[in-house]
C-alpha cells in the first residue's frame, strides 16, 4: 500500500507518528525476542537475559503482604471514585509518603508549605502525567530542556502526540575537564553537573518553555547536588519557565560511598516553598516495584497548574484496585518504613554484587548511587571494532560503533540499553539493570564480559 492511501483519513499527528523512522525498532524487536526466549538457569540456560527493563523485582516478598486486598472488597471498588484520586490516598501520599518519606520528614518553617492532599493528583502511571505536563507548558514545536544522559522515553512522551521537542543539556564532566576535545574518548566521567551556561545557551536558541530534572537520575543513578538544583530553580524562576522535578527514584537511594551526593527533594531544597514554577512528579513504579499497577502522582503548589492537570485527569485515571493497594501500603506506617529500608538494603546488596562482578571482569562503569541501574563504560572496545563493520552507512554517526557493539552483546544473548538513546555525549555507554535475581545478573555480566574482553584482545 502506498503512503497516500495507507493512512487514509488519518490526522497529521497520526501520520507523522506512523511514518517516523523506526529508530529503535531494532531495539523493540530485540526486546520481544528476548522476552519470548528468556534465560532460565535450569530450563533455558541459553535463553536471553534482559538487563534492559528498569524494573526492581527484589523486594516482592516484602511487598506481597500488602498486595492482597483481603476477602471482601467493598462495592465502591467497582464504582467511580473521586476525580484526582481517592481522598484517603491523596492524604496518605501527602503526609505519609511525601512529607515523611520522600521529603525525609522535613517540615518547613512556614506551616502553609506543608504538603496538602488538595495539591496531590493521583494518576494511572507517571507516563501520561508527563505527557500532559509537556502539553501544559509547550505548544507544538516548543522545547523542554533535560540534563543528559536521560531516560529515553522522555523524548517520545513529549513528541508523540503533542509534538514537543526535548533538547539535551549535557551534564557529563570528563576528567580532563575539556568537554570539547572529542579525541579524548577515554577520559573518565568523574561527575555530572547542571551547567547553567549550557542551559543558557540552549535557552537562547529560542522556544524553551520548561525544564525537566530527573533526580535521582536515570540511566546513571546519579544524584544531583542540592546547591546546583537550587541554582537551576532560580534560573528557571528568572526566565519564568517551569521546572518539573521527576523524583521517581527518590526512595531507591543506596549511597554506598560518602563522596556521593545525598538526595534532597526539590521541596526540601526550597524549604517547602515550591512557588509557581516548580512541580514534582512521582509514582509507585520504581520505589515500590509496582510498575504494572500504573500509579503515579503529581504535586504542585501552583493552583492554576493543578487545575489544568486535574481537569484533564479523566484521561489518566488510576484504577481503584491500584489505589486501594497503594492505600494498603501507605497507611501502615511501620510497614512502610520497614519496606523502604528493606528495599534500599536489597538495592545496595544487588548493586554491590553487580559492581563486584564488573570489577572482577575489569569492566568499567559509572558509580551509581540510586535507582535500579548503573551505566557501563564500554568505550575501550569501540576502538577495536573495525571501521569496515559499519554496515549502517553511518560514518557520520558517532554512535554507529556503539550500535554494532550492542548487537554483538545481543547476539550473546544479553539485552542492554544503549547510551545513544539516553543522549550520552559520547558513544560506548550502556545501561545495566541489576535489580534481578543474582543468577541472572551473574550470567548477564559474564556474557557481556565475554564480548568486551574478546574485543579488547
Amino acid at each position: 500500500m502506498d503512503l497516500n492511501t495507507q493512512f487514509e483519513g488519518f490526522s497529521d499527528n497520526a501520520i507523522r507518528l506512523l511514518s517516523a523512522p523506526k529508530g529503535n525498532s531494532k531495539l523493540a524487536m530485540a526486546h520481544f525476542m528476548a522476552m519470548s526466549y528468556l534465560y532460565n538457569s535450569k530450563d533455558n540456560p541459553n535463553g536471553y537475559i534482559s538487563l534492559g527493563i528498569a524494573e526492581n523485582v527484589l523486594s516482592y516478598d516484602v511487598l506481597k503482604e500488602k498486595l492482597d486486598l483481603g476477602m471482601a472488597p467493598p462495592q465502591s471498588i467497582t464504582q467511580y471514585s473521586e476525580i484526582g484520586g481517592i481522598p484517603e490516598l491523596r492524604e496518605l501520599i501527602a503526609e505519609q509518603l511525601l512529607q515523611n518519606q520522600v521529603f525525609k520528614g522535613y517540615r518547613p518553617p512556614n506551616e502553609k508549605f506543608l504538603v496538602k492532599k488538595e495539591q496531590i493528583l493521583v494518576s494511572g502511571g507517571v507516563t501520561p502525567l508527563l505527557e500532559n505536563v509537556f502539553n501544559l507548558f509547550c505548544n507544538e514545536g516548543e522545547k523542554c530542556i533535560i540534563p543528559s544522559p536521560f531516560y529515553p522515553s522522555f523524548v517520545y512522551d513529549a513528541y508523540q502526540r503533542f509534538g514537543v521537542k526535548v533538547i539535551a543539556a549535557k551534564s557529563e564532566i570528563f576528567n580532563n575537564n575539556n568537554n570539547n576535545n572529542s579525541e579524548e574518548e577515554d577520559s573518565e566521567i568523574i561527575d555530572f553537573h547542571l551547567d547553567l551556561n549550557e542551559f543558557e545557551s540552549l535557552y537562547n536558541q529560542g522556544g524553551v518553555k520548561m525544564v525537566l530534572l530527573c533526580n535521582p537520575n536515570n540511566p546513571t543513578g546519579y544524584i544531583f547536588k542540592p546547591t546546583e538544583i537550587k541554582k537551576l530553580v532560580e534560573w528557571c524562576q528568572k526566565k519564568k519557565i517551569h521546572l518539573i522535578s521527576d523524583e521517581i527514584y527518590a526512595l531507591s537511594v543506596f549511597n554506598t560511598e560518602s563522596t556521593t551526593n545525598q538526595f534532597k527533594s526539590v521541596y526540601e531544597i526550597l524549604e517547602g516553598n515550591l512557588g509557581e514554577y516548580v512541580h514534582i512528579l512521582n509514582g509507585f513504579s520504581k520505589d515500590f516495584c509496582l510498575n504494572g499497577y500504573r500509579i503515579g502522582y503529581f504535586y504542585s503548589q501552583n493552583e492554576t497548574v493543578f487545575q489544568y492537570m486535574i481537569s484533564t485527569s479523566a484521561f489518566y485515571s488510576c484504577s481503584n484496585i491500584a489505589q486501594y493497594t497503594a492505600i494498603n501500603i501507605l497507611k501502615d506506617r511501620e510497614y512502610l518504613e520497614r519496606y523502604i529500608k528493606t528495599n534500599q538494603s536489597n538495592l545496595k546488596e544487588a548493586y554491590e554484587f553487580a559492581s563486584n562482578l564488573l570489577n572482577q571482569y575489569s569492566i568499567p562503569f559509572i558509580k551509581s548511587s540510586s535507582g535500579v541501574f548503573l551505566s557501563l563504560d564500554l568505550r575501550a572496545c569501540l576502538k577495536c571494532i573495525p571501521d569496515g563493520d559499519d554496515h549502517e552507512n553511518n560514518n557520520q554517526d558517532k554512535f554507529s560503533k556503539e550500535i554494532i557493539l550492542w548487537e554483538k552483546i545481543f547476539k550473546n544473548k544479553v539485552f542492554l540499553n544503549s547510551g545513544k538513546l539516553c543522549y550520552f555525549e559520547k558513544p560506548g555507554f550502556f545501561r545495566l539493570i541489576f535489580t534481578l535475581p543474582k543468577d541472572f545478573v551473574e550470567q548477564g555480566i559474564k556474557r557481556i564480559a565475554n564480548v568486551y574482553n574478546s574485543l579488547l584482545k
Partner: protein, 525 residues
Amino acid sequence: MDNYKSFSKNAKKILNSPICNNKMQTAHYTAMENLFCPETNKDGYISLGIAENILSFDVMKDKLSVDPNFCQRLTQYSDMGGFKDCRQSIANLLQNHLFKFKPINNPELLVNYKQIILANGATPLLENIFNMFCDQDEVALIPSPMFPNFIPFAGQRFGVKIIGVKSEVYNTNNNNNNNNNNNNNNNNNNNNNNNNNNNNNREIIDFELNLEEFEKLYQLHPVKLIVLCNPNNPTGYIFSKKQIKKLIDWCREKKVHLLSDEIYALSIFNRNYCSGTREDNENTNNDFDNEDDNDNNNNEKDGANNQIPTNSFSSIYDICKGDMGEYIHLVSSFSKDFGLNGFRAGYFYSQNQDVLRYLLSTSNYYSCSNIVQSALINIIEDKKYLCSFIKENQKRLTSSYKFATKTLHQFNIPYLKSSAGLFLTIDLRKCLNKLPELNNNNNNNNNNNNNNNNNNNNNNNINCPFKKEIQLWELLFDNRVIVNPGKLCYFDEPGFYRLIFTLSNEFVYNGIERISKVYNQLLNS
C-alpha cells in the same frame, strides 16, 4: 502571579473555557457529601445522574475477592496493548457473546487477540481515536442526543470538534394522539398546549440516522470521523440495523471512519433483545437483512411513548458480516455492562492494521493496570459464570427499568421508552412554561459553553429555551434530586432529562417522588 501566561495554547484554552457544567459539578459534590440514606439521612441528596450500574455487584463479588492468577508478574511491566491472555479473553468475549455472526467461510475475519487493544477506560481511548483521525478543528459527527463527554474527549487537548446530527423523529402534527389520551396526566395539558408558540407538544416517536443530515454536514465541515453510540446514551435507544448498514455504506463511500461505541451492548433489557449468548442464538447468520424486530407486544404502560420502536441489537461486526474492513471500528469497556467503571478497563477492536499500530504505539499513555487485567480474565474466562452473569444482569436491568417506569407512571411523569443501558429519558417539557420568570443573573454559566456547540439549533435562541431547562434542573436540585439535563446531551428541545435507574428501588422511588413533587406542583400551579 503569572497565572498561566506561560502555558501552552492548548492549556490556556482549557483553563479559559467556562466549565459549562460547573453548576452540575458543584451540585454533584454537594450531593455526594450528603447522600440520601433511608434510615439515617432521609433528607440527603439522591443522584440519579451518574451512569453506574450497581445492581449486580453481589453476583460479581466472588470473582473479585480472590484472584487465583495473582502473581509477581502482575507488578511488572505488561505488554503494550495488554497481556496476551487478557486480549485473548476479550477476543473470546466479543466473538462468543457480543457478536453473533460466525464467518465460517472466512476464518480470517474471526476476532484475533492482536486486534484488541486494552486501555485504562474507554475515555483515553476515545480521546486518542479522535486525535488519530482528526486534526485540530476537524470534525466528528455524532447522532444527537448524545453522551455529553464526547465533546471534551475530542476537544479538550486535541481541539477536535463535535457536531451533533439530530436523530429525533417527531410526530409533529398530532396533539391528540393515543399517547396523550392514555396519559392520565393533568387535564391542563391541552390548555397549555394552546398557549404554546413552540412545538412543545410534539412527541418523539423514533430516532433515526438521517443520511441527508450527515451528507449536509459533511459538505459543510471537515468531517473525518463518525461516532455511533449504540445502544445510545442517554436515550437507551437501539438504532435500526438497516439504517446502520446504510451509514456504513455512506462512510465507506466517503472514506470516513466510523467508530461504533458499544459500551451498552450487554445491557439490553427489552424483552426482545438479543443477548449474544450462544443459547439465545437460533439463526446466527441469517437474520441481518430482516426487519428490525419490533416488539409490539411490549406492554409498557402509559407515560411511555409507545411509538418509539424497540429494535434488536446487533454489533457493527455482525452488520458488516464480520468484514469490517478499513473504516469500521469498535470501542467498548467493562464500565457499564459489567459495572466495573472503577477498574478502568476499556478496549478497542479493529481490522485495520494501521489503526491498531497507531493505537498500540501510543498505548503507554493509557495502559490498563495489570491487576485489573488479571481480574478481568478471572471474570470472563469462566464461561459458565460469564453467561449467567450477563443473563442475571440483564434480568435485573429489566426489572429495574420496569420498576422505574411503573413509578414514573404512578407519578404521571412522561418518559421516552428505553431499550437498553442504565437510563431512560424523562420528558418534563410540559412544566417548563410554568416556571416563574427569572432575571438574568443565572446566565453566566450558560452563555458561552456553546463554543463547541455546532448543533443545528438556532444559536441565538439557545439560551432562552434551555434556560428554563436549567432553571427546572435547579429546582429539582433544591428538592434534592439530580438528573442530567438534556441540553448537555444536545437534545433538540429543552425539557428532557436523563434518569439513571440502576440503583436500589428505594433510591429510585424516592428520587422520582421528588421529581414529581416539583413537576406536578408546577403543572398544577
